[in-house]
Point group: C2
């Protein structure tokens, strides 16, 4: 028996959407529904054998994705279009595969990833919106989104983000390059979008929490460069809750979406 799932066959890249409120995060766990777990079960049903899936990222419980990428080797010859249909028949309704493509044998959803783009949705309203309960974080007091947008530019470029990550990560090098960091308003919603070559544990949620404190006038915009410089988590803001966060895109040299 030579096959270990890495040799021969095809290497496939899947892109999924999921509502994070239905899962205990993306990475597989015992006794809790996870995106990776649900996908591996669906692959087991379709292929009739266990498949080792590599995920582009780990997302926390409650975090959503419009483009969650995974790759795996398979000896199955099922065409991509049919595989999408078959997997969606077995996946829970809160997750769906919408793209499948063959990639080179050495492609790896995590190691081949060039960057990611996230969006954080704030509902800036005194009154809750029943349609945004699990996809936005509500702030009942007024936020100045223009000050938040100006402050967000301080994250652009290459910095050590030690001040903007939670303990628990085993990462040594905490320098990351951010190429997109902006805030805008759509009606009662304030949106923050950021793109970078990589993100540390809770990094987008801590950046968002810091921007919210700035928008509320509780913190000065200058505190961002100061926190980046000092590398001290206590100089950054609170960790905004998972529900507002959505992984929007994963960048590869081979585009994950046409």
């Amino acid at each position: 028996m030579a096959g270990n799932g890495q040799e021969g066959g095809r290497n496939l890249l899947l892109t999924l959407r999921f509502d994070g409120s239905a899962f205990h995060g993306s990475a597989v766990q015992k006794n809790a529904p996870t995106v990776q777990g649900a996908l591996q079960q669906a692959l087991q049903q379709v292929f009739g054998e266990a498949t080792d899936v590599k995920c582009a990222s780990r997302t926390d419980a409650g975090v959503h994705a419009r483009a969650f990428c995974v790759s795996f080797h398979t000896k199955s010859a099922i065409p991509c279009e049919r595989l999408i249909e078959a997997l969606n028949a077995y996946l829970p309704p809160e997750a769906a595969v919408y793209d499948c493509r063959e990639v080179p044998p050495d492609f790896h959803a995590r190691y081949s990833c060039l960057g990611k783009r996230y969006r954080y949705r704030i509902l800036n309203s005194r009154i809750r919106d029943p349609f945004l309960l699990s996809t936005a974080f509500r702030i009942p007091y007024r936020l100045d989104w223009e000050i938040m947008d100006k402050a967000a530019r301080a994250f652009l470029g290459t910095h050590d983000f030690s001040a903007f990550c939670s303990a628990g990560g085993s990462v040594q090098d905490r320098r990351r390059t951010i190429f997109l960091s902006r805030v805008w308003r759509e009606g009662e919603q304030i949106l923050f979008e950021t793109g970078g070559d990589g993100f540390l544990y809770n990094m987008v949620r801590i950046i968002t929490g810091t921007l919210i404190e700035i928008g509320a006038g509780k913190r000065m915009p200058e505190s961002i460069p100061q926190a980046l410089q000092a590398g001290d988590r206590s100089l950054a803001g609170f960790t905004a809750p998972a529900a507002g966060l959505c992984l929007e895109q994963v960048y590869y040299e081979v585009p994950a979406r046409l």
Copy 2:
């Protein structure tokens, strides 16, 4: 004891948003969560006495609302802004009051209503969207929204809508005037919006089902004037499911929203 809730005090008009997937419709029922039931319970908590609430419309289980209007008389002097907060503290998260205003004593949410506007959301995609499971109806085959939009104009004006209502209504006069009826596309979504002075039981859902059959090429646009003329339900299309439907606005002489 002279007070029956109709005399003295104030007459208040509330506007609510609710996610219909959390309720068995709007009208109060025993042993099932309804919007009216939840609101009457919240009013009981806030006022300390039962309050008779008049609803602008009855919505079926699964139908949503961005502007559901109710009126009631109360002797309570709680200011409108505080009443909104108090009611939202007692309502389930899937419903929220966002407007409260005093109206003349003879105002009645149902009898004073001049018309309503509804929107129906179709997801025209082979693949489900986990974020639209309860707020859109998915059609996996291609719909021609431009033909649907042209066909939708046949509903404009005053017609007898007997062919476009379900059995069970006790209404005698089935003439209604439609002043808005259009279809457009937003990405993978096709939206139908209609406004009129009144709608019969399941009328918007049957109109939508008829338009979907036209967009799929299964029915000719001319079948709409034919069905209107004949007043025969069997000449119209299927009843599109509740989940795609949302009550967007209720029209009064006193505007329900500022």
